[in-house]
């Protein structure tokens, strides 16, 4: 028994003297609770809603006000025609379009019923369902308010729900783009950071440094194979999702692949940057997986919409490359948008790539210390 206790004591000593283990044991759960508590919210908050009011009468005005003042929604635009709907969804800020039919009030008064169309962005099925449910609840409340005036003939505002882009609300539409985003950055960053630190650990890096190879040659030499393989990976995932889930790319495949190549390049350069900081393979794996996995899953908009997060977490998400790529990939794959709608995000990714590669080359030590 004594031996056992002696051994247990040693294990405690090891743990308390190794800050990395402590971080895993305490740091991660604490971070997770905080993030889950504040950033992740399955409630609807500030969901963008656009109105196409073909009637523009007092009732529609009241209903619109009620919806906006509920606190769940934020008005993005007032549309004028049906043609604008497709476009406004592409822009990405609007999650729902509410359409009031012509002569809304008159129909209510004369026929006792009028219809409202709710069109939601199906590329985020969870959000779409929530948003339409909230809207319908508000409309139902409104219904009760105005019915109360005419007890015999209840007035009915009938909401009609339609999902754009993903009519069946298939969740693959949500998770396949997210999975691609996450896998690419984790694997690329992990792979490049490990291969470089491995050379450091095995001592072969010393000999490479002393050779005529220049740092940029070493870096690119490390990057090229993973670049090609990751690219094949993307194609593999797309083909698989098409075969198994029937998920096809709505927009231009060429654009999608081009954006993927940019993102892969970015992820690889993140790995290189990590390798200039990490002194051992273990450290590299730790930083790549633990340091990057959690923020990517939780804060990039992969599962939990960014709009629902508190400000501070939203600001953090601006720093994360995956956030931009998820937007791009969803736009192209599910909404079928063209470059014009994703040029902003593309620009951000491009500048990040240039920045990281530049930093890596600068930090890459020509000597051992």
């Amino acid at each position: 028994m004594k031996r056992f206790l002696g051994f247990v004591k040693k294990e405690f000593l090891h743990i308390f003297r190794d800050y990395r283990t402590l971080f895993i044991i305490f740091g991660i759960p604490v971070a997770q609770i905080l993030i889950f508590g504040f950033a992740i919210s399955t409630d609807v908050k500030n969901a963008g809603v656009a109105f196409l009011d073909l009637s523009k009468d007092e009732t529609t005005q009241k209903l619109t006000d009620k919806i906006i003042s509920s606190g769940f929604f934020k008005r993005t635009e007032n549309l004028v025609s049906y043609d604008e709907i497709e476009d406004i969804f592409r822009k990405g800020k609007t999650k729902e379009v509410i359409i009031f039919e012509k002569n809304f009030e008159k129909k209510l008064q004369n026929e006792g019923k009028a219809s409202v169309s709710l069109i939601a962005d199906g590329s985020e099925p969870n959000t779409a369902t929530l948003v339409t449910n909230y809207t319908m609840a508000i409309i139902s409340g409104f219904n009760t308010d105005i019915s109360g005036i005419r007890a015999n003939n209840p007035i009915l505002i009938q909401p009609e729900v339609k999902m754009l882009y993903n009519p069946e609300l298939k969740s693959q539409h949500m998770f396949v783009p997210g999975v691609i985003t996450m896998i690419l950055i984790l694997i690329c960053a992990l792979m490049t950071s490990v291969t470089i630190t491995r050379e450091k650990e095995f001592g072969t890096m010393e000999v490479l440094l002393v050779s005529p190879l220049r740092p940029i040659q070493i870096i690119l030499g490390k990057v090229v194979p993973y670049f090609l393989l990751s690219f094949i990976n993307v194609i593999l995932i797309l083909v698989l999702s098409w075969l198994v889930f029937g998920l096809s790319v709505k927009g231009s495949i060429i654009l999608l692949l081009a954006e993927s190549m940019l993102y892969i390049m970015l992820s690889l350069s993140v790995g290189i940057l990590i390798s200039t900081i990490a002194s051992s393979m273990q450290a590299a794996i730790f930083i790549s997986l633990v340091g990057m996995m959690l923020p990517t899953i939780l804060l990039s908009g992969f599962i939990y919409p960014i709009e629902n997060m508190d400000d501070i977490y939203r600001y953090i998400s601006y720093l994360l490359p995956p956030r931009y790529f998820i937007t791009i990939i969803k736009s192209i794959m599910i909404k079928g948008t063209g470059f014009l709608y994703v040029w902003k995000e593309t620009l951000v990714l491009l500048s990040m790539t240039v920045l990281f590669i530049g930093l890596s080359v600068k930090k890459f030590k020509v000597r051992l210390e």
């Binding site: 206790l5 002696g6 004591k9 040693k10 000593l13 090891h14």
Partner: protein, 242 residues
Amino acid sequence: MNNSVITVRNLVKKFGSFVANDNLNFEVYAGEIFGFLGANGAGKTTTIRILSGLSAPTSGEVIVAGINASKKPEEIKKQIGYMSQKFSLYEDLTVKENIMLYGGIYGMSKSLIKERTENLLEKLNFRDYGNKLIADLPLGLRQKLAFSIAVFHEPKIVFLDEPTGGVDPITRRQFWEMIYETASRGITVFVTTHYMDEAEYCDRISIMSEAKIVALDTPENLKKLYNAATVEDVFIKIARPN
């Protein structure tokens, strides 16, 4: 002789079809310093692992400290001490913590540990180092401490696997004097080394080559037999590695 602490008869160890130890026969006597030499890959490590109860023989009889290694390998561990070059002490623990840990593992009482710790620190001139982390000690001191800890529980036999690699010549000699002193207390020392001059410090040595023992005698007798001036010359004559 019946004061053998290690008896090996017809020991064979195979890994699949590869024969690592091919019919080994030898005995080690109490209080002896026994040198176990051989080129890399000759099969030394395999044998040591079997003798220290870490691995089971494929066939043959191996008796260590009166215990049959095939039947009760766990029992052997209580009777022996072990120190290797690759690992000896926990770097992120202090000197005293390491001593306490190993004392506890070998089932020594707290008072016994305390008493022997005092003696150990005194002997090694480590008085001020008690609370230093191993990582902060120079290599020579670490090796001496590791050895002292390996024999802390006064085992019957202590196995030393290349204990003096890379250490400066003065410390190496001090280390061997510690080995001598230990052997004079009746503890058998079974040591492997690449330093041929250290082979000369042993009472008897055996040389392994390609899974077999090709020589077993005192260094003096071997030098006479092979007409060599040093053990190194004997080694070069008979232990050519492939």
